[in-house]
């Protein structure tokens, strides 16, 4: 079959690949929705367990994302700008949490807090992470902070460092130049990375379940609620949780894209 006039075979093939992915994902999502009948979904929405999971997930994901941003923005900036010995090693180390299965990451965190003197001291005297809510935040933080660094480094790479140098000659110090020039110029990229990191934190499961455990009405985030309901064969409720998670993440991603597109972020 000949492609329509003005459209190359390559473009047609690329479009077909994109269409395949979009249709495949949509089909998977729709299959979950079709599986549920409205009354089951409504019952699940109104249950105390789901309400608790939604609240806990929003709280932990938001806290973890904010903490991750506080660390990732300067880290990504340094990784982009600074040239130092061992930079490649640091760059590779930052990739480890992305490369490792989340369960392995959670296991490593669990071992650190239960089997090392420093970890045990922190867990017993400063903040209790193991099988507690702070453990959820920590697990999400570890997963999303490196993701945020990876997403934000190219943003800083794309900003000419000479802008900061010009700001310096105009009477602004190093930090002031970063805050008043680089950060506002990177705002869209940072916002996009934050939105993606937040949705990733919302769905985090492997590291969370290993470090914080899966205790109903205690460490029960949406993904853990789904796991707990699946483990007792309550498929309807598990799928209702999936729908809620999907609705929240898709809404956030769409809204964040619109915000960046409209350019409504403050300078």
């Amino acid at each position: 079959m000949k492609p329509p006039q003005g459209v190359s075979t390559f473009k047609l093939f690329s479009g077909a690949c994109l269409a395949f992915l979009a249709v495949f994902l949509l089909a998977v999502i729709l299959s979950v929705c079709v599986f549920l009948n409205p009354s089951t979904l409504a019952a699940a929405f109104l249950s105390d367990e789901v309400a608790f999971a939604v609240a806990l997930t929003l709280l932990t994901a938001t806290t973890a994302t904010l903490l991750a941003l506080a660390v990732s923005i300067p880290a990504a900036y340094v990784l982009s700008r600074a040239r130092f010995r061992g930079r490649d090693l640091v760059d590779a180390l930052i990739n480890i949490p992305i490369a490792l299965p989340p369960v392995a990451l959670g296991t490593a965190l669990l071992i650190f807090f239960t089997n090392t003197p420093v970890g045990v001291f922190i867990d017993s005297s400063i903040v209790k992470f193991v099988f507690e809510v702070p453990g959820i935040i920590l697990a999400q933080f570890v997963v999303v902070s490196v993701l945020a660094v990876r997403l934000m480094k190219p943003v800083f790479d794309g900003i000419d460092p000479r802008y900061e140098k010009i700001a310096r000659t105009l009477g602004h110090g190093e930090l002031d130049s970063f805050l008043r020039v680089t950060l506002p110029m990177a705002k869209n990229g940072i916002f996009g990375a934050a939105a993606l990191a937040w949705t990733r934190a919302m769905g985090e499961f492997g590291a969370t379940v290993t470090l914080a455990g899966a205790t109903r009405f205690k460490t029960e985030t949406l993904s853990i609620a789904m796991f707990l309901n699946l483990s007792v064969a309550n498929l309807e409720k598990a799928m209702a949780v999936v729908v809620i998670l999907l609705a929240i993440t898709i809404s956030v991603l769409l809204i964040s894209r619109k915000i960046v597109y409209w350019g409504v972020l403050p300078s």
Binding site: K165, I166, A167, T169, G171, R180, P184
Partner: protein, 363 residues
């Protein structure tokens, strides 16, 4: 250089990877502009960045108004810097770009910004986003941003490198007028970086020529054009460079043989039998259809006259680059009017004339 030196650079050396700036010294007086020229990669921008404090230096010193600023960060040096591509902040409007430099200057900020924009004739840009500005508007805005903090030194790095040739001539005229006023009013010293000699002559009374990280020559244009100090400078200025051999020195004049022809010039310290480089500016050569000296003012001078034929005529705008074979190649620039008046074409027989005092001998 006359007047009080506002900017003094002494023995400045710096290293950036495999490139280095070596022992650079010069001064720029109040109200003066130094044209910094040199081929691409000669270190002009690196030198400006060292003066601005953006790059670290290894040794040497930088003084502004008699104060040592070598160890000071860029924000403490009081230097206005207009980079090659203006680098206006894209997240700020035109007036916000200017007021950016006034963070600690209190409540009169908007008044000063307005005044500066009026002075440079860019008031209409208030509130405009910089993405919608023309090359000339951007360049004036970058200048306003650099000047608003009342610097002692202004550094301009090829401000027209991204502007098309037609706009460039107009903008150059506008900038020259503005800078003259700025220098007169604020008494600041400025450095204007370019690789275009015509632009450099227009902007600065003094010139520094850079080559591979060092300054080959610093001085007033007249002197540099009259007596270039090195073969590189002569070559960069577009001089005709010829290898010669001194055959005689008499009454202060040296006769140098070049490809079987004799060129006379001021002997200086030359001695017979010495090998020299002969440099003749293309602007010092006059053309005539006869052997007799064409310019009346030259008739009582010692002149060199060579007969030859035109080998190349390259017309660019209102002038033409002409190459003549007189036994050795001579390149010069003539107006199209003269080309028509003498009815010159490739192969035409012509006499090239230049005064002995215009001949430079380089070791």
């Amino acid at each position: 250089m006359g007047g009080l030196a506002i900017l003094k650079v002494s023995d400045l050396s710096a290293k950036f990877g495999s490139f280095a700036l070596n022992r650079i010294s010069f001064e720029v007086a109040s109200g003066h502009c130094l044209a910094l020229v040199g081929p691409n990669g000669s270190g002009k921008t690196s030198l400006l960045e060292c003066v601005a404090g953006i790059r670290q230096i290894e040794s040497g010193g930088i003084e502004i108004n008699g104060l040592e600023v070598t160890g000071l960060p860029p924000e403490k040096r009081c230097i206005g810097y207009v980079p090659q591509d203006c680098l206006l902040f894209p997240h700020l409007t035109a007036d916000q770009n200017i007021s950016f430099a006034l963070k600690n200057n209190g409540s009169d900020t908007s008044g000063r910004v307005k005044q500066m924009m009026e002075w440079l004739g860019i008031s209409h840009l208030t509130g405009r986003h910089i993405g919608n500005l023309s090359g000339g508007e951007k360049q004036k805005l970058a200048l306003a941003r650099a000047l608003i903090m009342r610097p002692s030194v202004l550094l301009l790095d090829e401000p027209f490198s991204a502007v098309d040739r037609a706009s460039r001539t107009r903008l150059l005229g506008e900038l020259q007028k503005t800078l003259d006023e700025v220098r007169r009013t604020l008494g600041l010293a400025s450095i204007y970086v370019t690789h275009d000699l015509a632009e450099a002559q227009l902007m600065g009374r003094t010139v520094a020529i850079m080559n591979s990280g060092h300054v080959e020559e610093v001085g007033p244009w007249d002197r540099v054009l009259q007596t270039p100090s090195s073969t590189f400078v002569a070559d960069f200025m577009g001089f005709n460079i010829l290898d010669g051999h001194v055959t005689s020195v008499e009454d202060g004049l040296a006769v140098v043989e070049v490809c079987g022809q004799s060129i006379r010039g001021v002997a200086g310290s030359l001695t017979p039998s010495e090998d020299v480089i002969v440099a003749v500016s293309p602007h010092a050569i006059s053309l005539s259809l006869e052997r007799d000296i064409r310019k009346p003012s030259w008739r009582h001078c010692q002149c060199n006259v060579f007969e030859g034929s035109i080998t190349v005529i390259r017309k660019t705008g209102s002038v033409a680059q002409v190459s003549i074979d007189v036994g050795f190649p001579l390149n010069l620039e003539v107006s199209l009017d003269l080309l028509d008046e003498l009815n010159l074409a490739i192969g035409s027989r012509i006499f090239a004339q230049f005064r002995a005092s215009e001949v430079s001998f380089l070791p």
